[in-house]
Symmetry: C2
Subunit: 152 residues, 2 copies
């Protein structure tokens, strides 16, 4: 559907891994996994997915668009919360089935729907043979109940 | 199977997102997605998957273990190449279906099977209405043909 993106079936293994043709390998659900990191700090903000349309919109507009698996629709990040993401760089991996999106996070600087900068705000530790989570201390930058109040 | 990990079905939504119980939400294939980043620099090294066994082994040993989807087996990273990963921190996200693994990369410092530090060595750019990839210039730290020569 997208004229921006090539079909990986047209590439050899070597072209896929070392070449200059961008031919994302979408999975059976038509998605690639996206790791979104903050420009400068490299902090991992979130993990999400893109289909060909979301990837094309992201490349064309320079604003992060994802595919919401829970809502089954294109998700312009920040459309409700104001926490949009301006793309600084979009990288793919060796076998072109994953993406790193380097962004400037606008709004209050909170990529997570809980109001925190990052979704990864808890670390796991093994205590007495049981894995437990500890908060890493990221501050809550907005009140989700307020920001998403008007959502259906 | 793992006594370390709790069953997410036993948690409320709030406990899942704000609690201290580690209850990873494995997908239909029994996997969670893992973003592996380098301690200190925060550079994204690779994206991979873990099943409950790989996650448990990683927590218990402090050495990164993944599930290899292509080989359908537990994959102790670096077993062939020597490029093992020592875990500094393991974080999970708001809905506990993804992991960030912060590691020290040993060996030659190359997490990618192509011999580069990171799998994300190409950036996408739109040129004349077509997306093309450019090499970001990561050096090749080992010769894959040599390192993987003995592999079936």
């Amino acid at each position: 559907m997208s004229k921006l993106l090539a079909d990986p079936a047209t590439l050899t293994h070597d072209q896929l891994e070392e070449g200059t043709v961008f031919a994302p390998r979408f999975d059976a659900a038509g998605l690639v996994t996206v790791v979104t990191v903050e420009a400068g700090s490299n902090d991992v903000l979130m993990l999400a997915h893109m289909n060909a349309e979301a990837l094309t919109l992201t490349l064309e507009t320079g604003i992060a668009h994802y595919w919401s698996r829970s809502r089954a629709k294109i998700w312009k990040k920040g459309e409700t919360s104001g926490e949009t993401q301006q793309v600084v760089e979009l990288r793919t991996d060796c076998d072109q089935d994953a993406i790193v999106l380097v962004v400037n996070q606008s709004g209050r600087g909170a990529a997570c729907h809980t109001g925190r900068k990052s979704c990864f705000y808890r670390r796991a530790a093994v205590i007495d043979g049981q894995a437990a989570l500890e908060d890493t201390g990221l501050p809550i930058l907005f009140d989700p109940a307020e920001v998403y109040a008007s959502q259906p």
